[in-house]
């Protein structure tokens, strides 16, 4: 029983030791309350959303035109 507890505590200790303490990878992310960091965040989100929007719009319009043509042929 006591060996089991020791084993669990050991595993928990190892897991905790691997948890990241700070986000040092990005030099702009140290203080997210700063205006420049907020600017970066919004800019990144905006740019990340755009490829999906653009490809969605192009694919959607091609799909719409083909579907409309198909309907016209059937009627």
């Amino acid at each position: 029983m006591s060996i089991k507890i020791v084993l669990w505590v050991l595993i928990l200790g190892i897991v905790i030791s691997f948890l990241p303490q700070t986000l040092d990878a990005c030099p702009a992310c140290k203080n997210l309350d700063e205006p420049i960091a907020r600017g970066f965040n919004i800019s990144v989100l905006f740019m990340m959303a755009m490829p999906f929007t653009v490809f969605g719009a192009i694919g959607g319009s091609v799909f719409y035109y083909y579907r409309r043509a198909n309907k016209q042929i059937k009627t």
């Binding site: 800019s43 990144v44 905006f46 192009i58 409309r68 043509a69 198909n70």
Partner: protein, 197 residues
């Protein structure tokens, strides 16, 4: 019967290659402008005061640019009327609307050029700081696109004058219209973002 119809549909191509090409080009253009807008957002939000204190005395000409925006929006309307004219085989109206659109586009560029001359005179240049840099790059990039659209439109007008278009063959007008409408639709976004931020 259905198989034959499907074959006909494939041959007629409801979404022509030319149109698809222009749409893909516009997708690439969108990504270019998204990058520039992203840079603008970083610079705008990174500065508590906008314009920055170094350019606090500079006021962008909102009213004149607002009128200019109206001219460009009207040009979008006339371009739309041009394609409607060719769809119903009204060639004379097509020419009139195309020429009117081109004149409005040129007028937009002339007014914007005169604004830039005034702003440079006031000390707002590309090298004067982030405010000038992002303003000229973003607005200038759009102006280059308007110039490109005007050149394209001039070619289309030339083709329309020699009677190259009809109600069954007007791909040149259609692709030019798509590009023009894109350039027109993009401008109000840039105008409100840059001039009212």
């Amino acid at each position: 019967m259905i198989a034959q119809s499907k074959l006909e549909m494939t041959d007629s191509q409801p979404f022509s290659n030319a149109k698809l090409g222009v749409v893909i080009l516009l997708g690439a253009e969108t990504m270019l402008f998204v990058g520039l807008i992203g840079a603008f957002l970083v610079l705008r939000m990174g500065n508590v005061t906008w314009p920055p204190l170094s350019h606090a005395d500079i006021q962008l000409p909102r009213l004149v640019t607002g009128i200019n925006t109206g001219l460009l929006l009207i040009s979008g309307f006339t371009m739309f009327q041009a394609i409607r004219a060719i769809q119903s085989d009204r060639l004379k109206q097509l020419r009139v609307f195309l020429i009117f659109t081109g004149v409005l586009g040129l007028l937009f560029l002339v007014i914007q050029g005169s604004e830039w001359i005034q702003l440079v005179g006031k000390g707002l240049t590309l090298q004067s700081g982030v405010y000038g840099a992002i303003f000229y790059v973003l607005i200038g990039c759009h102006a280059i696109h308007v110039l490109g659209a005007v050149i394209w439109l001039t070619i289309v007008i030339g083709m329309a004058l020699v009677g190259r278009f009809s109600s069954v063959s007007y791909t040149g007008v259609e692709t030019c219209t798509i590009y023009w409408i894109y350039v027109v639709a993009l401008w109000p976004i840039l105008y409100f973002m840059v001039y009212f931020a």
